[in-house]
Subunit: 92 residues, 10 copies
């Protein structure tokens, strides 16, 4: 089941660079593990913003919430979720 997700990251201005770097490294690994499992089916940077659009392919609303709320950057993110369905013109 497919969802489009937009994530905007807002790190506190006073977070030490070292801590920010550590969180981002864990975030990257978390994301790449899910990409390899096929659950995080796509991720792109929004040009000019500290934000991304992602495609998720998961089994349920609950699984998606578990994944998103487990993101290391979750406390610093605004997240918008748009449920998607198969389009009649899709050739795949």
């Amino acid at each position: 089941m497919i969802y489009l997700v937009r994530m905007d990251v807002n790190l506190p201005a006073d977070m030490p660079a070292e801590e920010a770097g550590r969180i981002k490294a864990v975030e990257k690994e978390y994301s790449q593990t899910l990409q390899r499992q096929g659950k995080w089916a796509g991720i792109w940077r929004v040009v000019g913003e500290y934000a991304n659009y992602s495609i998720f392919d998961v089994d349920s609303n609950d699984e998606l919430h578990e994944i998103l709320s487990g993101l290391p950057l979750f406390p610093y993110m605004d997240i918008e979720v748009i449920p998607l369905a198969k389009h009649p013109s899709d050739i795949r």
Copy 2:
């Protein structure tokens, strides 16, 4: 080069069903041709709305505008374009 595009379709209430059907058929063919060329890289229906989110993979802003303004449904659409860049966590 990747773009996320949202298209909302608003057909006039008084458009004859036959004309609407004809335009949608041409639209479908137009979309599928571009999908087969790899330029229209993904298309999904927004759940509950006469709208879609699509991924385009084209060479330039100008090529994208040419494709979108050539859509048979273009006069009846609100279109939003979001330019995307490679994300550092992307494994592909």
Copy 3:
């Protein structure tokens, strides 16, 4: 899987009363059939508006879109879909 859905109805001012009545009757039957199946788990009128909030319990994004786009009033509705997950404080 649970979704909150808001539907705002905008019938054209020039739709004959008879046609409006007929569509609403079919809409009511359509809704009640789905309520009896347990898929349309709740429906309430928004006070002061020709709109409703509903709870749907379906198997997938695709099933929900099929249900919503099949509504007799679908061409006259603005629909917003919010995917929901189990809340940790829920006692059920």
Copy 4:
């Protein structure tokens, strides 16, 4: 009398984890007591957000405000209240 309520939680970034944990525990008990009384008739997590949609079944606007303003997390919440009425298609 039925109300749809959306609650968005914004804990201060500098709240100690222990204090946050304690407030959330009291909040959970507060919510579950009201759920057992039938006043808090439903609660769901909004996918991807630290927020919930809830259904309340209370006797008056005043009772609802008393319940909501008594929430342990009330000082950290944005709350939206939508009064609902019986829908003519409701089969219950």
Copy 5:
């Protein structure tokens, strides 16, 4: 139970003056009957707009919706309902 209600009226530009006059007369009588019953507790014109803010004092969400949806101008109105509670500083 108290509610603040804002009503914005949008009569179709092509409604004959006679019909508009007739509807407004019925609307006025409908409003004044409810004012005399104490249910429509206050009504004021928004300066510069074809709109009003009103205070209603009714027994339930359902009664308020019955009143509002029965307004002769209801099909031509945008209505916003804000449920109110007793304020601790109120001297009445």
Copy 6:
């Protein structure tokens, strides 16, 4: 002359409880003095929010601004003012 006023209160999270209590006590007295003078003609709590809707009956824009800017909570409030006029359907 009548005005509808909405006030949203945002106390800083780090204001000591004692200071908050003191300001609120002065605010209450300030409000009740004006209510007894007939200038603050009505006040209601917005359900679920630290906010109120109030009706003011004053002689001029300047008098209203003097009253509002003199509120002890003024530095912590967002205030919206809507000038009202007599409604032709008003029976009073």
Copy 7:
């Protein structure tokens, strides 16, 4: 008493040019009479829009509403009214 007023004009696309011209001429005379009386204290065109910002100097909310709702173009306008007070830095 001073008010800032913004008026946006939206004439129907199918209004005959002659009728539009006639209404605008009456509107101009109506405006200039009030300007000569000192009640319509200023009027400026918003660059690039069929809209104006105006300053009114009237005795009450009711007088302002009477003036605005009497505008020949009133049925085709969106009007926003902002009540103003004397500014402590004003040298006049």
Copy 8:
């Protein structure tokens, strides 16, 4: 003096193609004359929309309004004007 201007064009759905074509041709000539005079200093299509962003270099607010309100498509446009000043980092 520099201004950024965004123009969104909304031609009525029932405008005959011939009339639309004629207006667009006059519009193009009008624009190109001003471009040659250096007053319309830049024009770009917004990707995916029937809209443009333009740079104007004119002597005054009044001259800009005269130019914009003289556009053949003016009655069908939403126009937004943003006044610009020299930027301290500008190398020109």
Copy 9:
């Protein structure tokens, strides 16, 4: 050349009263000097808000930006600028 300008002031909650008083005094003098020069042609308080609407009469966009960015309160303000032109109904 005429501009309408709205300024909203947001002083930090922790700015010492003495510093705030000093800045406001300099601001007042700055404003009154420009009023006496005829450049700051009008200033009014927005009722209920720490904000003003002002009319400026200056020679260019650049002069207006120089004036506004030189305001002692500029770092604490949200400013909106609306360029105005002569209105055909203006009698002056």
Copy 10:
């Protein structure tokens, strides 16, 4: 390939003046280097705001994101990117 970019700068109120000055100096040099390369094709101050509108002429979405995310002020900016295409009326 052309893009319109709006940048709003929000420096923290407690950033030492010396640090702010240093960042702005680096920012200016960064911008002017790109202007000399022809990639940053235009930059203007928004009148009354700490913001700019800029025109970029780059080879791809990725190059634009690299440039923008490399801005010394990037962590303190809200950035909006609008992809542009050649306009049929453009004489260049």
